[in-house]
Amino acid sequence: MPPQTFGKAINQALTQAMELSPDVMVLGQLVDYKSGVFGTTTGLVERFGPERVQDFPVSEGLMTSAAIGAALVGMRPVIVHQRIDFMMYSLDAIVNWLSLMRFKSNGHSNLPVTIRAIVGKGWGQGPQHSKSLHAWFAHLPGLKVAVPATAYDAKGLLLESIFGEDPVMIIEHRSLYSMTEDVPEAPYRVRFGHAHVRRRGKDVTLVAIGSMVPMALRAADQLASESIDVEVVDLRTLSPLDDGTVCESVSKTKRLVVADPAWRSVSVAAEIIALVSERLGDKLLANPQRICFPDSHTPMSAPLEKEYYPDEARMVQVVRKASLE
């Protein structure tokens, strides 16, 4: 298994998917340039031609609707957004059509559409390039939502999505693209609805999403030196959500902290805490905690940005407090 960056793993998944099926096509602004959306689509057009790898006009609404139409007649389109913010023009297509088709056709239609949406962070991305909206989409029935944190998952979830039967939104965090990991060469699948326990521990469960996962592992290492044994659960997919693995972990540790890279209120973090409280509320030894962004748009100014995004030190502090309570 050669080590691979997160970005390269996505590139490999797309290449292999296009080799495996002629129905796979990739649409998105600049997907056919060398720079290829942070390197994830580099080389595809040379290999598969401009009919299958298309630089789409700046028409995100149409892009999603067209992908839906293409999927209805048998294609398996992957669409790519440089920022999730740009995808907002397709909300109607996603909410009123894509997520609804299987339901309203009584199961006769299905839409294997994969949407890759990238979240920006840091260096003044500002309020229109940095939104983390996974909670919105996880709220919507009929749409699967994945937030990969590792190169291995990025490849496996993408392939599973492309060859699955339902629409999927994969939310990729730009800060993860350069992270490396051993990734199998062969096409493989990572199933939805299976969280992964990335670190075993007995004192406190730290549930982490996407870009919070590497931070959670570093925080856990640091806390280990204080003899606090943290179990880190990487959710991987938010819809379907693996409540079983989360509850199993919390049953053992009896303490819960959720690290969700998104606004705090009405977040996936809130949902995790709600479901644990419903099932295990009487067993908890401490109040569950969330590590999220403030309920505010992202500031551009560097010192405010630093304050806005939770860092490792803050995470260590919250988890330490929860584990000592």
Binding site: Q29, S35, G61, G124, Q128, A302, L304
Partner: protein, 369 residues
């Protein structure tokens, strides 16, 4: 006119100062020089210390349209722009100090350091921008609607690029503006590229204005580096819109000299032919105007020196202001996103106690639909 035909022109010879007010010509020239020097100065400072921690879309080469707007719109008009904001911001009279301070993320920036270059806004000078492509063109339609309803003789101007016209919301706005004869001028700086993607990869026909005209909107094209032609066309359009004859659409063919974002030379990407780049470099809007000004004795070398000296000292002062300004203090996030009071509601509304809840109201007979 389109990019293909323009490339065949060689050096552009048509810029004319005939009938032009020398004062206006000098203002246009000063504006373009000031904008160019601003961008060059920001570029020079951009990387070395990495103090401007934000993406910037520079507009070197595209000075003529903002310059023209600066002399034809009034303070009470509203200007909406896309991510390439600096020229439009200065055209609206936004101060250089708060522009620079915004790039540095300082509290004294136009948006208090919260937004940065691509989301820069300054309500006090009626300027608004945003990085979501084409979105601001639709906001401009709304501003024009407001002006019309308020019976104000103000004009909304939307500045954007050819890429923005890929978006559906642009055409929806155009249709609506035509339907209601709104006082709006759409100004499309067609620089041929959406990031790296040329127009012919995104549209079957290159000329956007021909399509716009079919919506019932007066649409024209202009060589966008001829600041005099841009000014006279935009003057006619803004005055027409002010008089209730709008909407208007101007397609100004121009070119950006730097990379899409950041100051880099992106020729290695290979998306634009060298001849094209050279053509536009030879047709820099500033040198085209200067050539004529010198001929007409409107500009001499010492005069230009004097202007540059003034601009450079303004720029130096703005850098000093920006660098010395404080960063925003620790944020009170909730106050940044919601208002703390409702003065108009306080004035117009009463607090009302809900005495009882009509539990039957959910059973009222539904309508025929």
């Amino acid at each position: 006119m389109n990019h293909e035909t323009i490339l065949k022109m060689g050096r552009y010879r048509e810029l004319s100062l005939k009938d032009a007010d020398p004062g206006v010509v000098k203002n246009l020239h000063r504006f373009m020089l000031r904008l160019r020097r601003c961008e060059e100065a920001l570029i020079a400072e951009y990387h070395p210390a990495d103090e401007m921690k934000c993406p910037i879309h520079f507009c070197i080469g595209q000075e003529a349209v903002p310059a023209a707007l600066s002399v034809v719109i009034k303070p009470e008009d509203y200007l909406f722009s896309h991510h390439r904001t600096h020229g439009f911001y200065l055209a609206k009279g936004g101060p250089m100090n708060s522009l620079f301070a915004e790039m540095y993320g300082k509290a004294t920036g136009a948006s208090g350091g919260l937004a940065g270059s691509q989301d820069l806004s300054m309500p006090s000078v009626n300027f608004c921008s945003g990085a979501i492509l084409s979105g601001a063109t639709a906001l401009a339609v709304g501003a024009a609607l407001g002006f019309q309803r308020q019976k104000k003789k103000h004009v909304a101007v939307a500045g954007f690029g050819d890429g923005a016209s890929d978006e559906g919301v642009f055409w929806e706005g155009l249709n609506y503006a035509a339907l209601h004869k709104l006082p709006i001028v759409f100004v499309c700086e067609n620089n041929r590229y959406s990031t790296y993607s040329p127009q012919f990869k995104r549209m079957a026909s290159e000329n956007i204005s021909e399509r716009v005209a079919t919506f019932g909107v007066t649409a024209r094209t202009v060589f966008g580096n001829d600041v005099m032609a841009c000014t006279s066309m935009l003057r006619e359009m803004v005055e027409g819109a002010r008089a209730g004859r709008g909407p208007y659409f101007l397609e100004a063919f121009t070119y950006r000299m730097n990379s899409h974002v950041g100051p880099e030379d992106d020729s290695y990407v290979g998306y634009r032919p060298k001849e094209e780049f050279d053509f536009w470099q030879q047709n820099c809007p500033i040198s085209l105007l200067e050539e004529r000004m010198v001929e007409q004795n409107l500009l001499s070398a010492p005069e230009k020196e004097k202007i540059l000296k003034k601009i450079n000292s303004e720029i130096a002062a703005s850098f000093e202001f920006a660098k010395k300004s404080p960063f925003p203090g620790n944020a009170e996030w909730s106050k940044l996103n919601y208002s703390r009071g409702s003065p108009l509601a306080d004035q117009l509304l009463k607090d009302c106690e809900l005495k009882e809840f009509n539990q039957n109201q959910a059973d009222t007979i539904p309508g025929p639909y």
